[in-house]
């Protein structure tokens, strides 16, 4: 068990190093620091200004290790900064990136955490219901509605909801954020609703397949043969044994809650990490984008290790070796 954990962690570290190498190739060799400087300062600036800007942002070293510069190069710097969470200053407006991320995580979580729990709370009962009525019209209707819901672009959900609530119903403010817990619910209502709507089609369809797969197993037939009620079969046999495939999806989603939601946050004016990322994209801010990709993959690798370990807890048949 311990050996497995250690091996798993080492592999995870390897993947993180691979991600960092990929990011280096993308952000330092495909676009050179000179390109980045020109994007930040404008096309027509004297070379001296560009050199000054590169020095200020720590981009003035040679790219690759060479004689006399084994540690004084961008590749080494890139790894050192990322691994020590010293992300430096934004290319676009010189604010410290760590500070921004710290401020953005709170608002992001106030959106994504309730969204995650509510989505699960809606999708799992619904898909259990659909799976319970398998091969009837209710099931077929459920599948058709899921496919319909999946086929609508999330942009349309957002635009539609903002239009409906903002112009016709006037129930909630259509955008904005407040740290006061009483007001926050009013601001979050609409993004939560849109988030659930946009995800529910795919979720129900996925969970339904998982439940159906489990319903066709031998022990479910045995339970039915000995006179176990259908409701009880669903709750005790099918649902509990479906936990493993569910767990993979659920645990892997948790790390990304910290990343916020790109679309929901920027549309609904929530100052979280998603909105920060969108600002970075629109302002050509490579340093922030790079950092967000890195943090995202760090969280993903962590989530994956936790998932693998949790199999052993949920399913006694799984031995981690």
């Amino acid at each position: 068990m311990l050996a497995y954990v250690i091996r798993r962690v080492i592999y995870g570290v390897g993947v993180v190093f691979g991600v960092l190498l990929f990011l280096f190739v993308l952000f330092f060799t495909v676009t050179s620091p000179d390109d980045v400087a020109r994007k930040a300062l404008g096309e027509r600036v004297p070379p001296a200004v560009i050199e000054q800007w590169k020095a200020n942002h720590g981009y003035d070293r040679p790219l690759f290790p060479g004689p006399g510069a084994w540690t004084e190069n961008m590749l080494f710097e890139h790894y050192r900064r990322m691994l020590t969470f010293d992300f430096g200053r934004s290319d676009a407006d010189d604010t410290p990136i760590v500070e921004r991320i710290r401020r953005g995580m709170g608002p992001s979580l106030t959106l994504t955490l309730p969204l995650f729990i509510l989505s699960l709370g809606v999708a799992i009962p619904l898909s259990l219901l659909v799976a319970f009525f398998r091969e009837t019209y209710i099931d077929r209707l459920g599948v058709v509605i899921s496919v319909l819901a999946m086929s609508v672009s999330i942009l349309l959900y957002i635009i539609g909801a903002q239009y409906l609530v903002g112009r016709i119903l006037h129930w909630f403010p259509i955008s904005g954020f407040d740290s006061d817990p009483q007001l926050i619910i009013r601001f979050l209502a609409l993004p939560l609703l849109v988030g659930i709507m946009a995800g529910i089609g795919g979720d129900v369809r996925f969970y339904r397949t998982v439940f159906l797969e489990e319903s066709n197993t031998d022990y479910v037939r045995t339970a039915r043969a000995k006179g176990c009620g259908e409701g009880r079969i669903m709750a005790r046999h099918v649902f509990r044994n479906s936990l493993i495939p569910l767990l993979t999806r659920v645990i892997l989603a948790i790390p990304f809650l910290f990343m916020g939601s790109l679309l929901l946050e920027s549309f609904f004016g929530i100052p979280g990490l998603g909105a920060i990322t969108v600002d970075a994209i629109q302002g050509n801010d490579f340093s922030v984008l790079r950092t967000m990709v890195y943090i995202g993959s760090l969280l993903f690798v962590f989530g994956q290790i936790v998932t693998d370990l949790s199999y052993g807890l949920v399913d006694p048949r799984v031995r981690l070796e």
Binding site: Y11, G14, V15, V16, G18, V19, F22, L23, L26, F27, V30, T31, V147, L148, M150, S151, V152, S153, I154, L155, L156, I159, Q162, Y163, R167, F206, T209, F256, M259, L262, L263, T277, V278, I281, Q282, N284, F286, L289, R290, M292, V293, G296, S297, F300, V301, Q304
Partner: protein, 340 residues
Amino acid sequence: MESHILSNSVVAILVAGACGLVLAARRSRMWSAAFAEIWSRRRLALCVIGGYVLIALLDSVAWVGGLEGGQDAVARHQAQSVIDRLFADFQERSYSAPLADTEFYGGAPLRHPGQHLLGTDLIGRDVLYLSLKGARVALLIGGLTSLFAIPLALLFGVPAGYFGGRLDDVVFFVMSTLASMPGLLLLIALIMVLGKSTLAICFALAVTGWVGFCRVSRGETLKLRELEYVSAARALGVSQGRILLRHILPNLMHLVIITFVLMFSGLVLSEAILSWLGIGVDGSWGQMIDQARNELSRDPVVWWNVAAAGGALFGLILAVNFVGDALRDTLDPRTVREAE
């Protein structure tokens, strides 16, 4: 080479390729039975997809000249597609509602009263025309990206599964590295670095999209490698390359088709999100939706732009999703789901 000649020859190649595929599929009992079943189950959805493909092809066949008169002198010297020609000289000056006789704001009379089925946009372009042109962009995004991603996935996945060992370790490591980066962010980062051309966007979509299929093809090859007929081929002294090409690859074809269809709708929806972030493909439905966002806050509301683009997008994705489901049920109910 001029772009319209390139686009015409691509159409010719596509049509020829499609005919060849149909002939090849008809000769094989398995494929013709599978397609007959899908046709009987999803006739409407297949017809809808066929309609979109037809519009896209009509928009790709272009030639210069043949246009007389009209306001737009520039257009007469550029290559115009069949769709362009149908809507030649159909411009208004500003917004007009569907089938309206006057401009939406101000009420000045239109040049073509009552003829714009879906109205016109801010600078007076016919919305039906723009929506039809979007079909080509959407199919290009889905098709071109799959053209990058599927061969790439097979190129790495099949040898990794077949030979195993070091090669497998390396491919698996690359896959886990790419898969661990958040998809949308990686996509955006690639596009910002590579530029915003259609080709760069499709390439970026392919880089983020090939991993899933690579994993499926690797897993399936692992299974096929152990089957008797492969061992028999090996015992008879068939070369490795020939085993891969003749005995492994044809048995992955059903997965290629399923993946292509399932990937397609995701790609087109991703492009809509990219458009909203300002890095989409020109002329896509995503861009129309993006441009139409502010129109909903006007008073009175300009709704036909977003409705037309959204409807066109929804129709295509829905049809593709329905066909994809049927394909998966018919060709392979098990393998693809495992990879999700």
